[in-house]
């Protein structure tokens, strides 16, 4: 069978040793083919999650250009370690890489804010005077929510995006954020409480 392929290329090769060259041509073709198959299969499995990857990176980095670079970088990393992906939840697998890649940049830029780091007294002044009903009235204001959410620490932004936008289960979130499943609920509760406080503070300042 492969013999025929050899003969096909025989007329093209008048180098020092046609046999070696023929052999190389056939091998080259098989290698290209193998890589192509790998690439096709990777794109098929991972490109459907592009929006999810971009959304997570955008929330973590809070900057469109960084998010795009990050997603591209994460896809390259994912491609290189695609052999380690054994089917199953492709979105969670990819988002773990996006998350880790993003945190590397956050740490490098010293912009890391895993815990609430800024002066809460200023930010949160007056939030207690705002009632839950008032917050609810403002809770459809996308700009307001975006601003409040961007003020949250990275781990809170991340968990809110994963839960509310991707609709992921606690189990999936635990996998992506690399925390014990039991921690997901309490972190989510803290993130929501904090977001409510920040919203209240913003609403209180605007009044």
């Amino acid at each position: 069978m492969a013999l025929l392929l050899n003969e096909e290329h025989a007329h093209e090769t008048e180098d020092s040793d046609p046999k070696i060259v023929k052999f190389t041509v056939v091998k080259k073709r098989e290698e290209d083919h193998a890589r192509q198959v790998k690439s096709t299969s990777f794109e098929e499995a991972m490109l459907p999650h592009l929006d999810a990857a971009h959304n997570l990176a955008r929330w973590l980095l809070r900057n469109e250009q960084d998010a795009q670079d990050m997603v591209q970088e994460a896809y390259l990393r994912a491609f290189k370690s695609f052999a380690g992906f054994h089917g199953g939840n492709g979105r969670a697998w990819l988002l773990t890489i996006v998350r880790n890649t993003s945190y590397t940049l956050l740490k490098k830029n010293r912009a890391v804010d895993f815990t609430t780091s800024f002066d809460e007294e200023i930010h949160l002044a007056g939030h207690e005077s705002v009632s839950p009903a008032t917050i609810l009235e403002h809770s459809e204001d996308a700009d307001l929510i975006k601003e409040a959410m961007d003020e949250l620490p990275a781990e809170f932004r991340e968990i809110l995006a994963l839960r509310h936008q991707e609709g992921l289960s606690y189990k999936e979130i635990a996998e992506i954020a690399q925390i014990p499943p039991g921690t997901v609920m309490s972190r989510l509760a803290r993130a929501r409480a904090k977001l409510k406080e920040y919203l209240a503070a913003r609403i209180g300042r605007e009044k």
Partner: protein
């Protein structure tokens, strides 16, 4: 359950992540405690509303292309080191001795044996990685890759001719089987030419047809058994794949034309080939 416990579990309850028994206990508490019930209602309304209003940043157009092109660069710039590459180096170095040892041995047979071993290595390496549910899916991936590459690499045909009497002898001479070749220009599928391809670990014939500026690759190779299998279709990545078989050959038509066009193509092809 007391109020403190109920408050602690509220987010899990809201997210539907608690076990049924805990759910019941919380519901029981909410029925009994008005304060917690109100807190729950406000919290859930607010959280849902916030969730709905949070902006979702979809990937901008262009990012997909950027990623695909960076993947292509990755593939071409840094080819994976593997057994194949190393064995080539060994072959070159050891050439003179090998020559002596192997003089008189028909070299092509060695190349053939080496090819089979290498194809087996590649197949063994690839199959578990891809974890395709079935052989068809794996084949489909190969077919789409071949089709896409034939359009991409400016290598659509080895023999470009709309004359079936040119294409057929050319293919017959290159292959160990004689695939049926018909021009279907009068049916709206003009023959563009033929090409050798390599699929399913064997050389196959690829006939290229045109349909309103779109191309159809028809891959043909001998059927493994006499039984003609039922035709099947696979749709993936915007490509349509249509498979059928007769007593002699396997056929896989791959194209981006719509499925009904492809089915018409299949019918026309079948009526014009001598097997029917």
């Amino acid at each position: 359950m007391n109020c403190e416990e109920a408050t602690k579990l509220m987010d899990g309850y809201l997210d539907g992540e608690l076990d049924p028994i805990t759910n019941q206990t919380i519901e029981q508490h909410l029925r009994e405690c008005q304060k917690c019930d109100e807190a729950y209602k406000t919290h859930s309304a607010l959280i849902r509303s916030i969730g709905n209003a949070t902006p979702y940043y979809k990937a901008p157009s262009g990012l997909r292309e950027r990623i695909q092109s960076s993947l292509r660069d990755e593939i071409t710039e840094r080819p994976t080191r593997n057994v194949v590459r190393d064995s080539q180096v060994l072959f070159r170095r050891g050439q003179p001795e090998l020559r002596t040892i192997l003089s008189g041995t028909p070299w092509n047979w060695l190349a053939l044996a080496a090819s089979i071993v290498l194809v087996a290595i590649i197949a063994v390496n690839l199959v578990p990685r891809l974890r395709r549910p079935g052989a068809d899916q794996f084949l489909a991936t190969q077919l789409i890759a071949s089709h896409a590459r034939s359009l991409m690499a400016n290598h659509l045909t080895d023999v470009a001719s709309s004359d079936q009497h040119t294409v057929k002898p050319w293919l017959d001479a290159k292959l160990d089987f004689a695939p049926p070749v018909v021009d279907l220009a009068s049916e709206g599928f003009p023959l563009i030419g033929g090409r050798l391809d390599y699929l399913d670990n064997r050389p196959v014939a690829a006939l290229v047809y045109e349909r309103r500026k779109h191309f159809i690759n028809l891959f043909i190779w001998p059927a493994a058994s006499d039984a003609a299998s039922a035709s099947k279709t696979i749709t993936r990545q915007g490509y349509q794949l249509l498979h059928w078989a007769d007593s002699d050959f396997n056929y896989w038509a791959v194209s981006d034309v719509n499925l009904s066009d492809l089915q018409t193509f299949k019918q026309q092809f079948e009526t014009r080939t001598p097997h029917h």
